[in-house]
C-alpha cells in the first residue's frame, strides 16, 4: 500500500506543489495541495528520501499557521514612549519602516561604530527557517558589525555550531549516522524521536533488527521511553558519567589501542613541567617508541615501524614527560563507577553494563544535542562524550559517529567584507571567550548583548534588528533582557506574531511564514527551487526580502546582486551548474544523486607527500589531550566539575530552594517558542506545565493539575523570578528534580487561551534563570541544575 501512495490520484482541480518544510533542520519533502490560490493541506512527499511520505505535526498544521487571524499584518511604529502601557502602534508602509531602519543603522554606525548595532536572528524554523541567515550575516558583514547571532550557546554549540573543532576537527559539520548499519545507538540529551522526526522510523528499524538504544537523559523523554537502557543522571552531571564509562573501558582494556596510536594524539608526549607537547628533532611532537625504547618525532605521523607507547613515564633530554593517553587514563582512573554513582545517582552496575555494551558493540553510534548544552560544564561534558567513540574506534565508519558537510552551495555570508580586526572586537572575544575567538565563532551568547547594553562593557550596544526571534523568552534571564531592550536607542523586530519583547521595540515588521517564502536547497533526491506555496498574507514579507530591501537602502545593492533574489540564488547554485529559473521550470525539482557518504577520510593520503590527511584539529590528529586549550588558559582534559548552580557547587542556594529545576526537551509538535497559537497543535497540549515527581508532590501537598508557583534565586540568594504553572505529577523525573518545558508565552485565541507574558507569574522558564552561571569555554548558561522551590498559592 505504501508504494501506491507515491502516485496519488486527484480528481479535482487541486494543484500539487512539491516543496520541503523548513520548520526544523530536518527538511522533510512535502506536497502542498493548493486550490484557487488557497492552501488546502500539506502532506509528506513519498519520494523524498528523508521522510518517505511521513510528516510531523508542525508541517501538517501549515494551513492554520498561514491563515491564522492573529498574525502580524502590517509594519507598525511606536508612537508612545517605551514604558507606556500602550505603545500606540501605528500602521506604516514598508518603505517607511525600511527607510527608518536604514537611517537609524547609519546613524548608529556613524556615532558609535558598526559593532554597536546587533543583528539578531532566531532559531532554525523561525519565520522562514534558517535558510536566509547567510544573507542576513552578509548584511551584518557589509555593515561592519561582528555582532550577529542567536542562541547557539544554549542549543548545539559543542555538537555542530561550531562542534568540537579542537578535538574532532568538525567545525560546522553535523553528526551523520547510518542507522541502517549501526548496532548500538547512544544518545545523550537528545529527544531524537521527536526533534528529528524523519529519524524515528530509521531508529525503530534499527532496533527491530537488533540494535540497542541507550539514552542518557534525566527525564523519561519520549525517546528515553523507547530505550533498551535508560540512564537518568542527576541533571548536569553527565560529565561524571562519561568519565566513569571511560574508567571501565580503560580498566577492562576495551579501548582501541591501534586506533588511538595511529589516529589520535594519545601517544604524544606531554611535558610534565608545562603541560605542553614535547617537540624535538624538528618535529612539533614526540612519541615514545616502545619497540626501540627511544623517543621518535611525529609530524604528526610516525614511520610504520614505530610502536608509540600509550602509557608510562619517560625522560627525554632531561624532560620528564608522559603520553597524553597516560594523563587521560590517570584522570579516568580516578573516576570509578562507584565514584560516579555518588555524583550522578546512576548505579555503578548500570555504568559498567553500559560501558561494556558500548565498547564491545561495533559499530556503535554516538550523538548528543542540547540537553548537554545547558550546563556550566557543557563544553567538557561534550568533550568527554565525544572521546567515547574515539577511544573505542567508533569513528568515521558506517554505523559509527561520522560527520557530513552541508550541500556544496556557494557561501553567501560574505565574511570577507568584515575587517578581520572586528572578529577580535566581537562581544564574545572582548568578553574573554578565547576558544570561541580562536574558532572565529564571533556569534554571541545573548546575555553578553544584555551586558553590553546595560553596562556599556566591553562597549555599548545601541541598536538592534531582530528577525524571527523571541528575544523576550528565548534566553535565560528574560527580565534582564527586557530591561536591556528597553535601554536600546533603536530596536526593530520582525516576526509572524507579536512576541513579548516587541513591547520594547520601536518598529515591528510582519514576516511571512515558511510556506510563503522562497529559497533554493537540496532535499534528497531533488535540487529544488522552493516557491512560495501561497502569497504572503496581509502585508507580510519573507525575511529574505526584508534583508535584500534593507541592503539596497544601506548602499549594498551591488554586493546583494543588484537586489535581485533570483540572481543571488543563481550564485548559490553555480556549483550545481543550474539556475533558479531552470529549477523553477521543473516543479518536482531536478534529481541529483545524494553524495555518497565517505568514511575514514582521515586515512586518505595527501597527493603531494603521501601522508595521511588527518583531521582539521591543531595537531592534525583527533585530540584526546588539547594542548591548544591548555595554551588558551583552559584545562587540556575534561576534568570533573560540578554544574553551577547546583546542590554541591552552590549549596547555600539550595537551603532555601531545595529542588533542582531542569528545562529542555520539547515534544515534536512545538518548535522552541513557536506555534503555540496554532489550534490544531494546541489542542494536543493546551497548557504549560511543570513536571513534579509524585512522591515530592505528596510532601508538598500538591495535587495533579493544580496551579503552583515555582520560585528561583539569583546568585545572591534573593528571588530571581517566579512562574505560575499547572503541576503534572509524574515519575518521569527524580523526586528532587522538577522539569519545566521552555517556549511558553503565547495564547491561542481560538481555544480561549490568553497570552502568558514572559516575566513574573508567566509560564516562561527562562525568566527563572540568573544568567551569570556560565561555562567559561562556550558561554553556555547553567539551566538544568537550577535551585528552585515549589509552593501552592
Amino acid at each position: 500500500m505504501r508504494e501506491n501512495a507515491s502516485t496519488p490520484r486527484m480528481k479535482d482541480d487541486t494543484e500539487k506543489i512539491f516543496s520541503y518544510c523548513i520548520h526544523c533542520a530536518a527538511l522533510c519533502g512535502v506536497v502542498a495541495h493548493v486550490r484557487d490560490g488557497y492552501l488546502i493541506k500539506v502532506e509528506g512527499d513519498p519520494n523524498a528520501l528523508n521522510n518517505a511520505g511521513t510528516l510531523c505535526p508542525k508541517a501538517l498544521a501549515a494551513k492554520q499557521e498561514v491563515y491564522h487571524p492573529g498574525r502580524l499584518k502590517f509594519p507598525m511604529k511606536r508612537t508612545k514612549p517605551k514604558g507606556d502601557a500602550d505603545p500606540g502602534w501605528t500602521r506604516i508602509s514598508w518603505d517607511q519602516a525600511l527607510d527608518t531602519i536604514a537611517a537609524r543603522m547609519k546613524e548608529i554606525k556613524a556615532q558609535y561604530g558598526p559593532e554597536s548595532f546587533f543583528l539578531q536572528k532566531g532559531s532554525t524554523g523561525g519565520s522562514a527557517g534558517a535558510e536566509w541567515y547567510g544573507f542576513f550575516n552578509r548584511l551584518a558583514n557589509l555593515y561592519g558589525s561582528p555582532n550577529f547571532g542567536g542562541t547557539g550557546h544554549i542549543c548545539c554549540y559543542s555538537r555542530s555550531c561550531p562542534g568540537l573543532p579542537l578535538h574532532l576537527g568538525n567545525k560546522r559539520l553535523h553528526p551523520s549516522i547510518d542507522y541502517e548499519k549501526t548496532n548500538l545507538i547512544f544518545l545523550v540529551g537528545y529527544n531524537i524521536l521527536h526533534t528529528e522526526p524523519p529519524l524515528a522510523r530509521k531508529i525503530f528499524d534499527a532496533q527491530q533488527r537488533g540494535a540497542k538504544l541507550i539514552v542518557v537523559d534525566p527525564l523519561l523523554s519520549p525517546t528515553a521511553a523507547k530505550a533498551d537502557i535508560w540512564l537518568a543522571p542527576r541533571p548536569g552531571t553527565d560529565l561524571a558519567l562519561f568519565l566513569a564509562l571511560h574508567h571501565v573501558i580503560i580498566h577492562e582494556d576495551l579501548y582501541d589501542a591501534d586506533f588511538l596510536s595511529s589516529w589520535t594524539n594519545a601517544p604524544f608526549l606531554v611535558r610534565e613541567d608545562s603541560g605542553l607537547f614535547l617537540s624535538g628533532d624538528g618535529a612539533p611532537y614526540m612519541v615514545w617508541d616502545s619497540e626501540h625504547g627511544a623517543p621518535c618525532p611525529a609530524d604528526p605521523w610516525v614511520p610504520p615501524h614505530v610502536r608509540p607507547a600509550l602509557t608510562g613515564s619517560y625522560v627525554v633530554s632531561g624532560v620528564a614527560c608522559r603520553p597524553a593517553w597516560q594523563l587521560f587514563s590517570d584522570l579516568a582512573g580516578r573516576c570509578s563507577p562507584e565514584w560516579a554513582q555518588e555524583i550522578t545517582w546512576v548505579p555503578a552496575d548500570e555504568i559498567r553494563r553500559v560501558a561494556r555494551l558500548y565498547a564491545t558493540t561495533k559499530p556503535a553510534s554516538t550523538d548528543w544535542y542540547n540537553g548537554i548544552h545547558r550546563s556550566s560544564n557543557a563544553f567538557y561534558t561534550a568533550v568527554a562524550l565525544a572521546l567515547l567513540p574515539i577511544v573505542t574506534g567508533n569513528w568515521d565508519l558506517p554505523g559509527a559517529l561520522a560527520f557530513e558537510s552541508d550541500p556544496p552551495f556557494n557561501d553567501v555570508k560574505g565574511t570577507r567584507y568584515l575587517n578581520k580586526d572586528w572578529i577580535h572586537k566581537s562581544l564574545v572575544a572582548a568578553a574573554g571567550f578565547k576558544v570561541r575567538a580562536h574558532n572565529q565563532e564571533y556569534v554571541g551568547p545573548m546575555n553578553l548583548v544584555a551586558d553590553a547594553i546595560l553596562t556599556g562593557k566591553p562597549y555599548p550596544i545601541r541598536g538592534m534588528l531582530s528577525l524571527a526571534s523571541g528575544l523576550g523568552t528565548s534566553n535565560p534571564n528574560s527580565k534582564r533582557m527586557m530591561e536591556a531592550l528597553r535601554q536600546l536607542e533603536f530596536l526593530a523586530m520582525g516576526d509572524i506574531w507579536q512576541t513579548p519583547a516587541m513591547e520594547m521595540a520601536d518598529l515591528i515588521l510582519p514576516c511571512a511564514t515558511p510556506w510563503e517564502s522562497e529559497f533554493v536547497n537540496y532535499n534528497a533526491p531533488y535540487l529544488m527551487y522552493r516557491q512560495p506555496i501561497v502569497k504572503p498574507q496581509h502585508e507580510a514579507w519573507p525575511d529574505l526580502k526584508i534583508v535584500f530591501e534593507l541592503a539596497k537602502r544601506l548602499g549594498y545593492a551591488k554586493e546583494f546582486w543588484d537586489g535581485d533574489i533570483k540572481k543571488a540564488f543563481n550564485y548559490m547554485l553555480e556549483p550545481f551548474q543550474v539556475t533558479a529559473d531552470e529549477l523553477a521550470a521543473s516543479p518536482r525539482g531536478i534529481r541529483h544523486a545524494p553524495p555518497q557518504p565517505r568514511y575514514r577520510r582521515y586515512a586518505a593520503r595527501e597527493e603531494k607527500n603521501g601522508k595521511p590527511k588527518g583531521v582539521a584539529t591543531p595537531t592534525g590528529r583527533l585530540e584526546i589531550y588539547s594542548e591548544r586549550l591548555k595554551s588558551l588558559g583552559y584545562d587540556p582534559l575534561p576534568y570533573w566539575r560540578e554544574p553551577e548552580p547546583g546542590p554541591f557547587s552552590t549549596p547555600e542556594l539550595f537551603r532555601e530552594f531545595p529542588l533542582i529545576l531542569s528545562s529542555g526537551f520539547k515534544p515534536m509538535h512545538w518548535l522552541h517558542g513557536q506555534l503555540r497559537a496554532v489550534p490544531w497543535l494546541r489542542e494536543c497540549q493546551e497548557e504549560p506545565f511543570v513536571w513534579i515527581n509524585r512522591r515530592t508532590a505528596l510532601k508538598l501537598g500538591v495535587q495533579d493539575g493544580e496551579e503552583v508557583l515555582v520560585e528561583t534565586p539569583r546568585r545572591d540568594g534573593t528571588v530571581q523570578g517566579h512562574a505560575r504553572l499547572k503541576a503534572m505529577l509524574t515519575e518521569a523525573v527524580h523526586p528532587q528534580v522538577i522539569y519545566i518545558p521552555y517556549g511558553w508565552w503565547q495564547g491561542c485565541d481560538s481555544l480561549g487561551l490568553n497570552d502568558y507574558g514572559n516575566l513574573d507569574g508567566s509560564a516562561n522558564v527562562n525568566n527563572l534563570y540568573d544568567d551569570s552561571f556560565t561555562d567559561p569555554v562556550s558561554g553556555t548558561i547553567g539551566m538544568v541544575s537550577y535551585p528552585c522551590r515549589v509552593r501552592r498559592e
Binding site: 501506491n4 502516485t7 496519488p8 486550490r35 492552501l39 493541506k41 510531523c56 491563515y67 515519575e731
Partner: protein, 207 residues
C-alpha cells in the same frame, strides 16, 4: 469482499500527535472533536518507570456495539467492513447511546464551535467545516475516501515512526492478515470479542 484494517505497533508509537493532526487536516473535524487520540500511561517509580502511548480510533468492530445501541439505525457496516454513521439518521438529543456503548470511547458528538477561526476561513475551510453537522456523532472511517482512491489513511501515511500498518484482512498473504493470523497483532481488548479490524502489536520487547 475486502475488510480494511490496521495493525498498530505500540513499540513504535512516540505519542507525537502527527496522526491526530493529519486526521484533523484530512477530515476537517470540528474543534474539540478527535477521530483518533493517544492514550498515554506511565508505570513504575523513577528511575524504574515506563511510559506507553496507545493510539485509539474506531476499531471498525464486526460486532458493531455502537450500532446495536443506536435507536435510529444510523450506524451500519459498509464497504470494506468500515462502520459508517448516517448523519441524517443520527437524531438523539443530549444522550448518545452509541458513545456510551463504545468500549474504546472513540465516538464523539459534534458540539461547541463550528470552526477554529470562525471569522477567518478560506472558502474551502468553510465548505469543509460546514460538512460537519452540529450534534451528529462522528468517528474514524479509516479515511474511506482516501483508500478508495488508492491512498493510505492520513494517519498511516504521516506517522513518522511508521507504526501503523494498513491492509486488507481478507488478503491472507498481506502483511496485516499475516500479523493477525500469526497472533502477533491482537485486538486491544480480546476479552470483548468485538471482532475489530484494528489490531495492536509490540514488535520490540518492552524496555
Amino acid at each position: 469482499m475486502a475488510r480494511y484494517g490496521l495493525a498498530i505497533d505500540l513499540s513504535r508509537c512516540t505519542g507525537c500527535y502527527a496522526c491526530i493532526i493529519a486526521c484533523k487536516s484530512e477530515n476537517s473535524t470540528l474543534p474539540g472533536v478527535f477521530w483518533i487520540r493517544i492514550d498515554e500511561k506511565e508505570q513504575g517509580e523513577h528511575p524504574k518507570v515506563a511510559r506507553s502511548y496507545t493510539p485509539l480510533l474506531c476499531m471498525q468492530c464486526g460486532e458493531v456495539p455502537c450500532a446495536q445501541a443506536c435507536p435510529s439505525e444510523a450506524i451500519s457496516k459498509g464497504e470494506g467492513g468500515i462502520i459508517f454513521i448516517d448523519e441524517e439518521r443520527c437524531i438523539c438529543d443530549a444522550v448518545k447511546p452509541c458513545i456510551a456503548a463504545c468500549p474504546f470511547e472513540v465516538l464523539m458528538a459534534n458540539k461547541g464551535r463550528l470552526s477554529y477561526f470562525p471569522d477567518y476561513l478560506t472558502p474551502h475551510e468553510k465548505q469543509a467545516y460546514e460538512a460537519h453537522r452540529h450534534a451528529v456523532v462522528e468517528k474514524c472511517t479509516l479515511c474511506h475516501h482516501r483508500i478508495t482512491a488508492g491512498l493510505l489513511p492520513a494517519c498511516v501515511q504521516t506517522c513518522p515512526s511508521q507504526a501503523m500498518i494498513f491492509g486488507d484482512l481478507d488478503e491472507p498473504q498481506g502483511d496485516l492478515a499475516q500479523l493477525v493470523s500469526r497472533g502477533e497483532a491482537k485486538p486491544l481488548r480480546e476479552d470483548l470479542k468485538a471482532d475489530p479490524s484494528v489490531f495492536y502489536l509490540q514488535r520490540l520487547a518492552a524496555p
